[in-house]
Amino acid sequence: MLELESAEKRFADVVALRDVSLSISDGTTFGLLGPNGAGKTTTMRLILGIMTPDGGSVRWNGARIDERVRLRFGYLPEERGLYGKMRVRDHIVYFGRLHGVPKSEIEAAADEWIERLDLGTYALRPCAELSKGNQQKVQVACAAVHRPELLVLDEPFTGLDPVNAQILHDVLAAMQKRGTTLVLSSHEMWQIERLCTEFCIIARGSVRARGTLAQLRSGWPTRRVRVAPDGGAVCATLERIEGARFIERDGEAVTFDLPRATDCAELLRRLIEVGTISSFEQIEPSLQDVYLRVLRGDGTEAA
């Protein structure tokens, strides 16, 4: 289990992180969200022991993050970097060796990752000759080849085309299944929503919200419904509900935000009474909706 307890980090007069407390259980895929400059990368650097906190503590299974612990971690930083003249396979082997894996084992693992990430054609080519997307895949392999217990990925999907993004998604999903704890940050909300089981939204160095998606949604003040067709009686029924707000008309359907206390089953019964209903859909707010609302400061507080 990874635990951050009241972690703080300052750079001169700037407070980068303030009283950040997180608890990430083994095997969790954890999404770290926040705008640029929110403190996500600093949080990751504290987790990885690249930086030490000025206050509070960071622990992995109860132990401080030292050199031995770090050997069990993998890291894909936001800014990608490879030794341009080193060959792809050598690169993967090198980083595996740095994590203490014997040469014979790491070579087999490197070949496996090369195949998994469809890098076979480039295995013996210098990294500098690869496209940006392929370089990124090499870095993913470098971060994961030693089978880390904790893999930290800072913006892993940035710069990948849809095919490679899917490959990476599948790789991370496989690691998730195997029980690897994943900590990701990304601005690709739909990707992170698909992968992660828990989330934390950071802004200006502080945790603004955290929990599962269901927990984050639970703080949402309204229920959104989409009804079709949008007959006059249907719309009138919806508009009569106190606090109801028209959102949009899309083809034959109409979307409304209703107060959270609205009983949707009762509403559907009333709508059927006034007209013919072909579709009634209760729309859950997406992660992006929750994120934007939290950042606007008009919603969820830390769970």
């Binding site: 690249i50 930083p77 060796r97």
Partner: protein
């Protein structure tokens, strides 16, 4: 295991680098040049200056040619007698620096010298070798017999503790000169490699993954040891080149011969140990400073701006060391041999050409070692600051604060 992995990768990466290969070739050429340059210069100078033409009656020029060659070390050619005084152009056409016109006047040898180098071709340098010929004219005895009668042995004894004779002293100076040049080249070239390597990792953003995996002292130590190994490899290559060149003499004489053919054979154990110890100390001092500086670079284009000022103390140290060779016990030399950064060069120069008290040598080593530790701490802190600082260069107050605070 991490140390070994980084060390191996670093070594291989640099061995294959263009900079290393170019450095090895140009360094070798530099050593070759330094090994041969004094010989070449002297032989070129001697070719002109120590070549003499003689003109006059055959009874005089033939024995004079032999005496000037054997007693004066001149290369002598006989030219036809002319009534016109020779010009500089005439001497150049004959490939000589001077012309001696010989004649007999009242049973004495009469010599007129026309020379392009009056400082070296003087009355004494000519009178000595030709003295037997003059005595021969007065006594009517063959010049060879006169020469035999005039010979008396002279032995030069050095009163300095280190060298028993002037030849050994000249050879030691030649060795010191060569090794100082090697020391300078090795420190400058390999410190530059450390700087470039660190800057490359920083600018290519590999650094962040490295520091997430490896602790900084291990990373820095592995890099520096790999550089030291490369430096040793270069040193061995250059010494072999120098040794091969010096073993194939040029026929030069005097100091040139000392540099050209006896220098490498004249390396004493004392000099060799001094060279290795002060190379290790000097290189360690500079490489940690360069590693710290390299971590502050955000673009490889900025490398020159960073490395330029750092090389100034090395150049000053090298120049002071060259001055020290002329006077190893001068107060400035003694003081500088205890000043960090200058010390590896100046103290080594003193060791190579004089007898430095052991206490002084150990004192300088202790100061240098303490500085290596201090520089490593400060350089390591800079490295830690710089490796994760992107976007803008750190300010001087930041650098100073990073170097001097935990």
């Amino acid at each position: 295991m991490q140390f070994g992995t980084i060390y191996n990768a670093e070594l291989l990466r640099r061995l294959r680098s263009r900079a290393f290969v170019i450095g090895l070739i140009f360094g070798g050429l530099g050593v070759a040049l330094v090994t041969r340059l004094p010989s070449l210069i002297e032989s070129m100078q001697l070719g002109a200056i120590r070549s003499i033409a003689v003109a006059g009656p055959p009874s005089l020029v033939v024995p004079a040619k032999q005496l000037l060659h054997e007693n004066g070390g001149f290369s002598v050619r006989i030219v036809p007698l002319s009534s016109v005084a020779p010009s500089q152009e005439t001497l150049r056409r004959w490939h000589v620096g001077s012309l001696l016109l010989l004649s007999e006047k009242k049973q004495h040898l009469n010599v007129s010298i026309y020379t392009t180098d009056p400082e070296n071709v003087t009355l004494s340098t000519i009178r000595g070798p030709l003295l037997p010929l003059d005595v021969s004219l007065r006594t009517h005895r063959p010049p060879t017999a006169v020469r035999r009668d005039l010979y008396f042995p002279i032995t030069v004894h050095s009163v300095t503790a280190r060298f028993v004779n002037a030849a050994q002293s000249a050879a030691a100076h030649a060795v010191a000169y060569l090794l100082l040049f090697l020391l300078y080249m090795l420190i400058v070239f390999n410190s530059q490699l450390v700087l470039t390597s660190v800057a490359e990792e920083k600018t290519s953003r590999v650094a962040e993954v490295l520091v997430a995996t490896v602790n900084l002292p291990t990373l820095l130590a592995a890099k520096i040891l790999a550089s030291t190994t490369l430096a040793a490899l270069q040193m061995a290559t250059w010494i072999v080149i120098g040794g091969l060149l010096s073993s194939s003499g040029t026929g030069a004489t005097g100091p040139a011969l000392a540099v050209g053919s006896t220098s490498f054979s004249a390396v004493t154990l004392e000099t060799l140990v001094g060279f290795l110890v002060f190379f290790a100390l000097g290189f360690s001092q500079m490489s940690v400073i360069f590693a710290g500086a390299g971590s502050l670079v955000n673009r490889t284009e900025d490398l020159g701006a960073v490395s330029g000022p750092l090389f100034i103390p090395v150049i000053v140290a090298f120049m002071l060391a060259i001055m020290t060779l002329a006077n190893p016990e001068a107060p400035f030399a003694v003081v500088c041999s205890f000043v960090p950064v200058l010390s590896p060069f100046v103290m080594f120069a003193r060791i190579a050409v004089s007898s430095v008290p052991l206490g002084q040598v150990l004192g300088a080593c202790a100061i240098d070692l303490a500085c290596v530790i201090l520089f490593a701490i400060a350089g390591g802190r800079l490295y830690r600051l710089g490796m994760l600082l992107y976007g803008r260069a750190p300010s001087w107050p930041q650098i100073v604060r990073a170097a001097f605070t935990r």
